[in-house]
């Protein structure tokens, strides 16, 4: 990392290899809950991660001491609120190692960030006959905005296939790049399968064709160090609630040179410098893309979440979740009739599976009765499901607060499911 990092005050001393998940768990008030008479085992962080006390405190502190509208008033609170909001932007910049805060746009989340690019950049660049290249494992949020943009501009959406284990078929992806390709839009990590995509190779291949790359980082941001400069991607989108922050806030990183060419997306306050009835002068980056009063307290919460995660140490969290993945993978494979869906060599802390004779929804209900929360269904990635000839899977996903004992509770609960269904 070359960029100067903001000061952080770690709640724990992060020693590589020594990660105290029990202590981390204690930082999350919701983990004290019992579900159906048992201590909560939360294995659904890929859908939404829980918030640590530090985030809740930061939001409350902001609301009780600092709140006012931003970028508007000369009074003290407005200035402090602006400082808190722009401070959170700097925190995001540092966290993903962007060059400048001009490249960080606050959005409602990953979905809105992708829609922003699809509509603003897509409207500017997509022409009849052009192609947008995605993959077969994308979340619907990285499919539907491109379908809409392609339909609006006569372009075509193309999806690269997967291999049998749920990895991206990289040679097939590269072969689909051509002189009609205008953009590549890919997940960093698949939410349904856990596959980590080979972004460096993928970005290099796209750039050889002069094609920019958008990365849907929703499933990566909390689980490994993300460095947009090292990845060399052109857009990177993520959500606050996947990274232990609140819902309704997220960020879009975009290369400044691209943002400078893109037309504003939504019109309103904050994105203008001056307005006359005939026309308006738009604001500078990044505010040009932030119409209306933003989610200030959400941004403050997101900033606190990133600070918390920096305190734990991204590498320590990454190693901890790798151990949980290895433990879960080994234990689940022992269960008769259980089939893992997505076994790519490079995976994040997501285990998708089916159980012979038991529908995923029934697994979900029976696990919930044991206090174990997992996701069941198509995970908003129906093309990835249909690639495996499935309509649904059960999915356990891990976060920094999960422990080895959580995996054991999952396995015990699955044995009970087997007993009920015979």
């Amino acid at each position: 990392m070359n960029a100067p990092r903001a000061q952080v005050s770690p709640p724990h001393i992060a020693v590589p290899g020594e990660f105290d998940a029990e202590q981390v768990r204690a930082d999350f008030p919701i983990m004290a809950r019992e579900i159906n008479g048992r201590p909560l085992v939360y294995l659904d962080s890929a859908a939404s991660a829980q918030q640590p006390r530090a985030v809740l405190d930061a939001i409350e502190h902001y609301a009780t001491t600092t709140h006012a509208n931003v970028h508007r008033g000369v009074h003290t609170l407005s200035q402090e609120a602006t400082a808190a909001f722009e401070g959170a932007r700097e925190r995001v910049r540092a966290f993903i190692n962007a060059r400048s805060t001009r490249e960080i746009i606050f959005t409602r989340g990953t979905t809105e960030a992708i829609n922003l690019v699809a509509q603003s950049w897509g409207g500017m660049r997509l022409k009849p006959g052009d192609e947008v290249l995605i993959t077969h494992l994308e979340h619907h949020a990285n499919i539907v905005p491109w379908q809409m943009a392609c339909a609006a501009h006569g372009a075509r959406l193309v999806a690269a296939p997967l291999t049998a284990d749920g990895a991206l078929d990289l040679p097939a992806f590269v072969a689909l790049l051509n002189d009609r390709t205008r953009l590549v839009a890919v997940a960093h990590v698949s939410n349904a399968l856990g596959t980590v995509l080979p972004l460096r190779e993928l970005v290099a291949a796209a750039h050889r064709h002069g094609v920019p790359v958008l990365v849907d980082g929703a499933q990566a941001i909390a689980h490994q160090r993300v460095d947009v400069r090292a990845l060399d991607c052109d857009f990177y989108a993520f959500s606050g609630h996947k990274v232990y922050g609140p819902t309704g806030i997220g960020a879009l990183y975009a290369r400044e040179a691209l943002l400078a060419q893109m037309p504003p997306w939504q019109g309103g306050g904050d994105m203008i410098l001056s307005v006359a009835i005939e026309s308006s002068t738009y604001n500078d980056l990044p505010w040009r893309f932030e119409a209306g009063t933003p989610n200030i307290s959400g941004a403050v919460g997101l900033g606190a979440a990133l600070e918390y995660l920096e305190g734990l140490g991204l590498e320590a969290v990454h190693q901890h979740e790798r151990r949980l993945l290895a433990q879960a993978t080994a234990a689940l494979q022992e269960l008769p009739g259980l089939h893992l869906v997505g076994t790519a060599p490079e995976k994040a802390g997501v285990v998708s599976f089916t159980l012979d004779g038991v529908h995923p929804h029934d697994i979900g209900t029976l696990l919930d009765a044991e206090g174990v929360a997992i996701r069941t269904g198509h995970h908003c990635a129906m093309p990835a499901m249909s690639f495996f000839g499935l309509t649904a899977t059960a999915r356990a996903s891990f976060g920094c607060y999960n422990t080895s004992a959580d995996i054991e509770r999952l396995v015990t609960a699955l044995i009970k499911v087997r007993e009920v269904f015979g």
Binding site: N36, H361, D362, L366, T376, M382, M385, T391, G422
Partner: protein
């Protein structure tokens, strides 16, 4: 919350060996039901003689609750007059959603679904087949109205 109340033996049995599973060709009425929450789908084909539902088949993919509910429904409605099926639909709907509901008529094995009420997330699984049946009967009316009046059902 006791899952044994949801996964009763009757439910597990009908999930394992669904009755009237398959497809009728030709059929007097048909419909495809979707549960957008989970991507599950259920198709129903049926035949009507006079004003009675004479045969029904269902197929598709679904959880134990949706498969068992469709299987139990297929047994309950086969041979029944259509107006009685409409009343049965109402009773089952109330059974699935209203606490301590007293059915207006004997529901027989359909009572096994009463445990679903305690699991709000699963009510849609149990009711999907009934909605699809309704749609199939509606489709039959539309199809029938396109042919000479002798076969038109007027309700």
């Amino acid at each position: 919350m006791d899952t044994r109340d949801l996964y009763r033996d009757v439910i597990l049995d009908h999930n394992r060996s669904p009755r009237n599973f398959g497809r009728l060709e030709p059929a007097d009425g048909s419909a495809l039901g979707h549960n957008p929450l989970c991507g599950d789908s259920l198709s129903i084909t049926l035949r009507v003689q006079g004003e009675r539902l004479s045969e029904l088949r269902f197929n598709g993919q679904g959880c134990a609750i949706s498969v068992a509910s469709a299987s139990l429904m297929s047994e309950a409605v086969t041979g029944k007059p259509l107006d009685e099926i409409a009343a049965l639909y109402h009773d089952v709907h109330e059974l699935l959603t209203v606490d301590k509901y007293t059915p207006q008529r004997p529901l027989g094995k359909l009572l096994a679904l009463s445990g679903v009420r305690e699991f709000p997330a699963r009510v849609k699984c149990a009711s999907l087949c009934w909605h699809t049946l309704n749609a199939a009967l509606e489709q039959r009316k539309v199809a029938a109205s396109a042919t000479p009046p002798a076969t038109v059902s007027t309700e």
